[in-house]
Symmetry: C2
Subunit: 330 residues, 2 copies
């Protein structure tokens, strides 16, 4: 049994070849939900969705989000209508008193759907509508995720990290904003001062998460701050990781992050924005897998391989190296 901690790109890429080392039937993936938002009444869980679409064989592998070949008619029409009506585009948070009305889970990250600043595909949207309606029917987020995972025919188990609201809020020189505003609407341009996972100290890990962390844990090459960070702040998670065998795959080639704003965000939380910063970010890690050209040094077992993942063969190579690392420290 193995448990991966995952954000929305790096770890899913690794999962593409994970079966070379780990049986999918014995694999659990705990997904970040700090990036989740509600927009236009839809509860969107981007990292969970990437795993669902990947597992269902429909993921858009150019972007690593959304459904391959999806159309975007509603999204385009939303922009057209807003422009024709003279309504603003860009992220528009609902008022503070509206943040949680009817949905506590939306807290701190509930946006108007006018002009819809995230690009949501038409089939993609059906997933969000189903999830949101299941929440309205009384399902928890993890129960709704299980139903969606069934619908997409997943072999692995996917658990959202929590059924409670946790919001990744980025404090920048242009003010505080939700991660999705920072990354999608503002393309990571504001200077990050600090990152806050609002709600995390009061949030419980979703059912099954702590149990899953008793197995060997693999932290994939995801953003240590905003993809993995929210999980680490949940009560009980750091303790569980301290007890387990944990192997972390670097999301950096030296100073360069594979994808996303990992570098800037690492600096903002006072971690070295490079592979070496992983020692700070993951104090509980028992071993690291880093790139063959990376000269980072750790006080823990470290295996080097070509960690760039551009294909499932690449992913299989990295997965086998992770298995090697587990064997060393187990």
């Amino acid at each position: 049994m193995v448990t991966f901690l995952s954000g929305g790109t790096g770890t899913p890429k690794l999962l593409d070849g994970a079966a070379a080392a780990f049986s999918p039937e014995e694999t659990t993936v705990v997904a970040n939900t700090g990036d989740d938002i509600e927009i236009g009444g839809l509860f969107v869980s981007p990292d969970v969705d990437t795993l669902l679409f990947q597992g269902g064989g429909v993921l858009d592998r150019e972007t690593w989000w959304g459904i391959d070949g999806d159309t975007h008619r509603t999204n385009a029409a939303l922009s057209d209508i807003a422009a024709a009506a003279g309504l603003p585009d860009g992220p528009q948070y609902l008022s503070e008193e509206r943040q949680t009305e009817g949905r506590d889970l939306a807290d701190w990250r509930r946006f108007s759907g006018v002009a819809e600043f995230m690009t949501i595909g038409d089939r993609d949207r059906a997933v969000h509508i189903t999830r949101t309606s299941l929440l309205d029917e009384g399902y928890t987020l993890s129960e709704a995720t299980t139903r969606l995972a069934d619908a997409f025919g997943l072999t692995i188990d996917v658990l959202p990290m929590s059924d409670d609201p946790v919001a990744s809020l980025v404090h920048t020189d242009e003010g505080m904003m939700h991660f999705q505003e920072y990354w999608v609407a503002r393309r990571g341009e504001p200077t990050v001062e600090t990152v806050e996972f609002r709600g995390s100290s009061k949030a419980d890990p979703a059912p099954g998460v702590i149990d899953a962390l008793e197995d060997t844990v693999v932290i994939g090459p995801s953003n240590p701050v905003t993809s993995i960070g929210p999980m680490l702040t949940l009560p009980g998670v750091a303790d569980a990781l301290n007890q387990s065998t944990v192997v972390a795959v670097s999301p950096f080639l030296g100073d360069d992050a594979f994808s996303g704003p990992a570098g800037d965000l690492m600096s903002a939380v006072n971690a070295d924005p490079s592979t070496e910063g992983l020692a700070t970010a993951y104090p509980f890690a028992d071993a690291f897998v880093i790139d063959e050209d990376d000269d980072a040094e750790f006080d823990r077992p470290t295996i080097q391989t070509d960690i760039r993942i551009d294909s499932s063969d690449d992913a299989a190579r990295v997965a086998r190296t992770v298995e090697e690392a587990i064997d060393i420290v187990d």
Copy 2:
């Protein structure tokens, strides 16, 4: 100045030729909102939408709802996902305590979006998302309607009948259900016992409605029970109509309704399900326009013409006849 009372099909058809007799700039249309529902978090206002799409020149004129040439990718995907996840299809009301959380306006008619029992097009959906998000931002339904009417470039003024919740509930031999369940999901098959406009006695007419009823009023060939009926039960509306010149166009060719379940519904409210029943349904009417082959007799001025509307020329003919009727009684 003239004010039309409208449902979703008959009166919009008449409006297609209304400019032959009435200047669009001097025309107000009060639209039924008793058919409105919230489904999957979207506030859908079908009769208002038909008027918006008609005014914007994008209405699907085969169905008289939805947008011409629209795709239905999200709607189809919702059915696929529900089937794959083993979730039920058909209308699923949210629980009583969830009916109004975050949106009082949804009361008595808030449905899960799982499998989405109404056929919502992809561009159509963008209108509902925009409307719903404007409601979430604090707009009233009539303010949101005005913004959407601007977006669609309407020349006429469209007013929803009320900014408060009014739900057309049909009591049948198979239990009570919202009109949309009765008509869309069950195709009008249950036997109607009575019709209730829940909320109407506490609902205020939307701003501008009572003023608009001080002008000459035309009741188009809409369903007297579920299209026009909800408006008539709003406080002040019947009084206002008693004071004004009102001409009603029959929605019947003898015993046959042009469209929709008017016949069955008229019987259920103890009105004769034919043109003659209009005298009961519209006691304040000053004149009627009925079909040339209709032998109904009224105690009020009645003009006969070919009232079947299959084209804008037909609509223009009926509109000119309405003008004639107004001239007689004014």
